[in-house]
Symmetry: C2
């Protein structure tokens, strides 16, 4: 079959949107919250139920199952040349404590819908196709986030991952054994032909600008800092303004500086102070010490470095002006990711062929695909989400958005896995 | 005896500094902390022990004891005309949870040293002299502060005071009965001839400028506000800067505004944001709501009103610039106090006569004297404290400062109570 005939045959293939939506809703019942969100923390009994359901569905779709030592589940659909490296899809089924029904889950069940569609039509591909559910993407029970895809990509050791503890002191390794999901299959180290992660945007851009699909070209680099500001605790009534050393006033100035630094590097930079712990936090005491966190993101390392220098300079000036002492610690670095141009092209082509309004976009959040990109040609597909809300029980998408994302995933995977006459 | 002879006789009278210091140290052992501070919360068993010791000392100094229904203890030394209104001294023996040895205690035991000195020399005064220990000045176990002097002055009802609860739900009225200090004597409503409260400054001015004595002319007015800022919680990575509604950035701007407003009304105004509660307080989430408190103080109501207007205007602008919504609530008002000019003159004269370096000063903190001033001609005497530190186990004063403050108290009281030939 010629290239154009193949492409046209692929384009006619359609996913079954109500089936995808029904599966999303069924999975959402496991850990469903009264507010319509989902609480399915990684490696809990609810996560086990979700995994069992997922495996059951994948087997029904004709897949074989393998589970690695991190509990990552690989559902495999054979290729006509099954010795070739697989085309991968997938994301994660775990959620935040007050999470939604789609963050991660859309990428897993969208992949399932791809597999079901191929089965419905008896379609064969040259390359095998694998659908993955990554363990502990959220990092909210066991920090850090994207832990098991990180192990897969060689970023973390298994020992490090196993030793992570939740707030009650349980170790990740023990939790994995407890729910019966510590597998034995050796899955990493293999060559992967291409990999695609479908995900909700978790930001407002696509919806605001009325796009159906985001073609994710880059993942933002992330740098996290912790700043301890130390001033001098004293009485709010009897300490004249010129003799104060107000650590909270210092923190306020750092918050303003972080905002300005991000704006200096518009439009792609973001900067956020998310945490403030103020001491002694009493209404008639001038705060003596304050802890804040800073989150900087940008798709290039040069700009991230400039932002760090601007932050340090701002803090030196604030310290000097207020007579306080601030200590900046760099606590996390996630390098910018440039996704594989061929995979990105496959996504863009699929979106165009299907007639979806699409734009290139940078992922501001971290995803399993950002680690996978270190060991496989990888790209991501974004769908809009309502008001950009995510990590929230109010997280919402439309059935149409889910179907569009899934269709793009199907066609990008089909192009990469090479459709064969059925 | 002529006025000048009386004044000269008074000036020769000296307190016994080591005795005052020893009493301060003995009282500090009741609730003494390993760090050298004191934890003697109001109406606890330790407070009972402190009260018992105080009463014992007062009886030894020749006083009769009365206790009112709020547990305020009045130690009375008769005057030659005992029907005349008394001259009052006093402060409080209760402390903060991590408090010091002097805040309040110096005013009570300094008054005791005055009584002991009069007894030593068999001195008679025309007016009776009363030394008071006020219940629950600190307000840290039962809010609000200065509660029992407030009841004495008619600011609060007894029922209101009795119904105040500590963090474990115990009512003040029950705690008072439990330690056996709910008296029956009716002490308020009487005419008082003059009242003096000796207290540590709780600020850095006197020590910084090398003064022995602060002649307190005014008490700052205090206004407390609570501000709830509501923005929109969203993902720190995937929300572009222009679409954010960051409640914490709003709070940072309010903190800066509060500082500027106080500086606009230099040198007497102070403004403090002491509390910040940030939600959800997660390093990769743009804060959706923030609670802060504002404390404004100034000795005149006109300026306090101007400061409030400036705060409200600043918040309107911040809301508009950031697309957030802030609600300001006024939660506490303590009017400025102008102390009685004759009593203030008596303090200033005593300090001058004794050769102490003194300056007029405004009290930034609230004191029992601020309420007492509503029903009696009142003034305060400040002594320096090291680095202005108070409400802290590190609170410190020198024996010389304590002695100077006590000597000024003695001579101000003697002038008011009218020395008689002994």
């Amino acid at each position: 079959m010629s290239q154009s005939r193949t492409r046209s045959a692929r384009r006619n293939l359609q996913i079954t949107s109500p089936r995808l939506w029904a599966s999303l809703m069924e999975m959402a019942r496991i850990g469903g919250t009264p507010k319509g969100g989902c609480k399915r923390l990684t490696l809990t009994e609810l996560d086990r139920q979700g995994r069992d359901l997922f495996i059951n569905w994948c087997r029904q779709a004709g897949c074989s199952i393998k589970i690695d030592r991190m509990g990552n589940i690989f559902a495999r659909r054979a290729g006509t040349d099954d010795s070739l490296p697989p085309v991968m899809m997938g994301s994660h089924l775990d959620t935040q404590p007050t999470g939604g029904k789609y963050d991660g889950i859309l990428g897993v069940l969208g992949g399932l819908e791809v597999l079901r569609t191929l089965q419905d039509h008896g379609i064969k591909t040259k390359h095998p196709i694998e659908l993955v559910n990554w363990t502990n993407e959220e990092g909210s029970r066991f920090a850090p986030a994207m832990l098991a895809s990180g192990v897969y990509a060689g970023v973390y050791t298994e020992e490090f991952a196993y030793s992570r503890q939740d707030s009650e002191g349980q170790k990740l390794g023990d939790a994995l054994v407890a729910i019966g999901y510590q597998g034995k299959d050796e899955m990493s180290g293999r060559k992967i032909h291409a990999a695609f992660e479908l995900h909700i945007e978790q930001g407002p851009i696509l919806e605001d600008e009325n796009y159906d699909i985001g073609v994710v070209t880059h993942g933002q680099g992330i740098r996290w800092y912790e700043i301890n500001l130390t001033g001098f605790e004293s009485h709010a009534g009897s300490t004249p303004m010129p003799t104060r050393h107000d650590a909270l006033l210092g923190a306020a100035r750092v918050i303003e500086a972080v905002n300005s630094i991000a704006l200096n590097h518009a439009p792609l930079a973001v900067g956020t102070v998310g945490m403030v712990n103020n001491y002694p936090n009493s209404r008639n005491v001038i705060p003596g010490s304050v802890f804040i966190t800073v989150d900087f993101r940008h798709p290039t390392d040069d700009v991230m470095t400039a932002m760090e220098q601007e932050l340090k300079a701002a803090v030196v000036k604030i310290d000097r002006d207020l007579g306080i002492t601030s200590e900046i610690k760099s606590v996390f670095y996630f390098p910018p990711v440039a996704f594989d141009p061929n995979c990105v092209d496959a996504v863009r082509r699929a979106a165009s062929d299907l007639g979806f309004k699409h734009r290139d976009i940078v992922s501001g959040a971290g995803h399993d695909a950002c680690y996978l990109a270190r060991v496989a040609p990888t790209a991501m597909i974004f769908t809009p989400c309502v008001d950009g809300i995510s990590h929230n029980e109010a997280e919402e998408i439309s059935e149409e958005w889910a179907a569009a994302g899934c269709a793009v995933l199907l066609h990008a995977v089909l192009e990469s896995a090479e459709l064969r006459e059925s």
